[in-house]
């Protein structure tokens, strides 16, 4: 006898422990199997793009902190790069190095949270997350030293960085860098060969290479599908062409690969920081830039490899003190567009894992 069944619509979010913010998934379930998914976004829309048009170029830097709040330094960097490109401002050597150090530290911090939350979504009861948070705490302490803030740094300035680093920063950074690779090894040992983790993530939520390119995915999501694309190598900004590092890529594009790529990227970031520390020159950290300046009429697009993917700022100038148009290419939003294709056909529990493995930040998606 065939039982009569009917699909079952369930709302995951906007208030839900594993939607990482105020994301909402409208899932249609057949039993436990997801047969349709409709993502609903916009609960955290603050209109940052429009607000930014009413403020001067310098005043917009704090706004960028509030995009992906787990990677404020990277957001700062992308924005100031775009403005410097627009206005043709040069940056002192030392500031470039400091920017790279901060951006890579930020990448480690963001990936730690991403990986920790992903493992939490797998059902590991907070233990991995709290260990990751312990390491992230050390990075936040380092940021606290240089700019006095732990979450919204507002550290980068147009033409450099706001302060030079204090004396105690470099020894602390050195200690952190030496310890960090050991910690990554430890996590790898504890987790990467865990039978349950493999069973839950291997082959789950595959994003094929072609689809990943077609939706213009970027960051670890793209690289885990086997595409060797990293803005730091493809279009080197700042001084990234001076460092040696590799681009880890996955092979299948499943949830496990996305996790693995993030772990490997942390190792590469540690390598970059070590090189930057050795080469760090002395000198000025901020070039002479007036508070109000009029960039020539034109447009500029500054993009960086942010922890979550290609973060770009598109600025149009009409020779006034504020941008005429301010657009953010948010990697989280664009990576999220693949969600439906990845989840359909998997079970409810997998939907949570796949969503967690994309590692999005809703403040950046909704802006």
């Amino acid at each position: 006898m065939a039982l009569k069944t009917e699909p079952f619509v369930i709302n995951i979010g906007p208030q839900h422990p594993s939607t990482h913010g105020v994301f909402r998934m409208r899932l249609t379930l057949d039993g436990e199997v997801v047969i349709d998914l409709e993502p609903v976004i916009g609960y955290l829309h603050r209109g940052i793009e429009k607000l930014a048009e009413g403020r001067t170029y310098t005043q917009n830097i704090p706004f960028t902190d509030r995009l992906d709040y787990l990677a404020s330094m990277s957001n700062n960097l992308a924005y100031v790069l775009a403005v410097e490109k627009l206005a043709g401002i040069s940056v002192p050597e030392r500031a470039e190095y400091l920017r790279v150090i901060m951006a890579e530290l930020q990448r480690i911090a963001s990936h730690l949270v991403g990986v920790g939350c992903f493992l939490n979504d797998c059902g590991a009861f907070f233990t991995p997350l709290l260990y990751m948070i312990r390491e992230r705490e050390k990075i936040l302490d380092l940021f606290d030293m240089v700019c006095g803030q732990r979450l919204t740094y507002n550290y980068m300035r147009i033409g450099g960085v706001s302060h030079d680093i204090p004396d105690e920063f470099l020894p602390a950074l050195d200690k952190f860098v030496r310890e960090m690779s050991g910690f990554i090894d430890e996590y790898d040992q504890l987790l990467a060969k865990n039978e349950i983790l493999l069973a839950r993530t291997k082959g789950v939520g595959i994003l094929p290479k072609e689809l990943a390119i077609n939706i213009s995915a970027s960051g670890p999501v793209l690289r885990s599908s086997g595409v060797k694309w990293d803005i730091r190598k493809a279009d080197p900004y700042s001084i990234y062409d001076r460092f040696e590092f590799e681009i880890p890529t996955g092979s299948v594009g499943d949830a496990y690969d996305r996790y693995w790529v993030r772990v490997q990227e942390m190792r590469q970031s540690v390598r970059i920081i070590q090189q930057a520390m050795e080469q760090l020159p002395s000198g000025e950290v901020l070039s002479e830039v007036p508070h109000l300046f009029h960039p020539p009429v034109g447009e500029a697009y500054g993009h960086i490899e942010a922890p979550k993917g290609e973060l770009g700022f598109y600025l149009v100038s009409d020779n006034s003190i504020a941008p005429y148009r301010f657009h953010i290419r948010a990697p989280s939003l664009i990576n999220l567009t693949a969600l439906r294709d990845m989840i359909i056909g998997w079970k409810l529990a997998d939907a949570i894992i796949v969503f967690g493995s994309i590692d999005i930040c809703l403040a950046e998606v909704d802006r």
Partner: protein, 372 residues
């Protein structure tokens, strides 16, 4: 004398012949009240122990504000929870919603009627003790389903459906693992099973212990089988619409079940109250807490399985292993009934290692996509 050595006075009480007419009921009343009190105190201790222990695992202190070492935290939690408003969902089934916590809590408590805390210190020394435990403990799942159904909430319903499938499946390997012990002890009575253990059965029945432990984790919905309250998916599942005292009953029932499972493992596999030097009751408690430590150690370490993987694990892994264990134990009991334990221990441990390795070789979890 009574104060200085409670276990001795208990022994004396147990030896007193219950001659007068109301003797049986007096005995029953004293024990019932005593057991409920002991169970509730132990549950409080468990909650505190787990939260402190999890804190240690997760590099944080855990609750440490209420009393020394946060020892009063469970009491503070209880008071908070009792003062909460009791909410019934608008379109929920009011009576079923009210009844469900009772149906979950009472059977969990009733298990302790046959748990011997030391020799003869048991409310009812049933000659079918362990059978009674298996029967009673499977009633709880009805309550869970009632809760999920009556809440008129989709998350609750999914959680309840999952728990039915899971508990019914794991009942079978659970029962089969117990039979191995019963064959060795030659009795179903909990008291007799402990007395039959000259050496703990965990050494003679290592595979049985493993199967029982895993199946029991699924039975009490503990990690990695905590699907019905999977927080990341179902926001705590079947009890999401409960608050106040009703929620407290679910919460208590969960820990009472954990306590029961720890006690049963202690009795079946770890030699119950037996042990040198310390009084028997203390030995029993030490072993129970040891088992509980193992349970939340697993919880703090391992991610959760998916529902189809959980079911596959029960039917494809635990059930065949349990049947094999039964078969091997049967042969051993019939062919070498007088075999020296020191010969059987290495043989049985070797059998366990070989079987587990064999199964881990052939049995792979994973996959699970459905074409839509």
């Amino acid at each position: 004398m009574i104060i200085s050595n409670p276990s001795l006075s208990l022994e004396r009480y147990l030896q007193t012949p219950l001659e007068w007419a109301g003797g049986f009921w007096a005995h029953w009343g004293v024990f019932a009240v005593g057991i409920v009190a002991v169970v509730l105190i132990l549950v409080m201790a468990f909650i505190w122990f787990e939260r402190r222990g999890l804190g240690r695992f997760q590099i944080r202190p855990g609750p440490n504000r209420c009393g020394p070492f946060g020892i009063l935290q469970p009491i503070a939690d209880a008071i908070k929870i009792l003062l909460k408003e009791d909410i019934v969902p608008a379109k929920g089934d009011k009576w079923v919603h009210w009844l469900a916590p009772v149906v979950v809590f009472v059977p969990a408590l009733m298990i302790f009627a046959v748990i011997p805390f030391q020799d003869k210190a048991v409310l009812a020394d049933l000659n079918i003790g362990i059978l009674y435990v298996v029967a009673i403990s499977s009633v709880s799942v009805v309550g869970v389903f009632m809760a999920g159904w009556s809440s008129n909430n989709k998350f609750s319903l999914i959680g309840a459906m999952r728990s039915i499938a899971q508990v019914v499946s794991y009942e079978i390997p659970l029962g089969l693992a117990i039979i191995g012990v019963v064959m060795m002890a030659g009795s179903l009575s909990m008291n007799e099973i402990v007395n039959a253990q000259t050496i703990p059965f965990i050494l003679l029945q290592p595979l049985g212990f493993l199967i029982y432990f895993l199946a029991a984790l699924a039975e009490i919905n503990r990690c990695p089988f905590d699907l019905l309250e999977a927080e990341q998916e179902l926001t705590t599942g079947f009890n999401v619409e409960y608050s106040g005292m009703k929620f407290a009953l679910f919460y208590l029932a969960e820990y009472v079940e954990v306590l029961a499972v720890s006690a049963i493992i202690t009795i079946l596999f770890l030699g119950g109250w037996k042990g040198p030097l310390l009084p028997p009751f203390l030995w029993f408690l030490i072993k129970v807490f040891g088992v509980f430590f193992l349970i939340f150690w697993v919880r703090s370490t391992i991610p959760r399985l998916r529902i189809d993987q959980v079911m596959a694990f029960a039917w494809k892994c635990l059930l065949p292993l349990a049947l094999l264990n039964l078969f091997i134990t049967g042969i051993q009991v019939i062919v070498w009934p007088e075999a020296l334990p020191w010969v059987m221990i290495p043989i049985n441990i070797a059998i366990m290692v070989i079987l587990v390795l064999l199964w881990s070789k052939f049995f792979r979890l994973g996959g699970g996509r459905v074409e839509v």
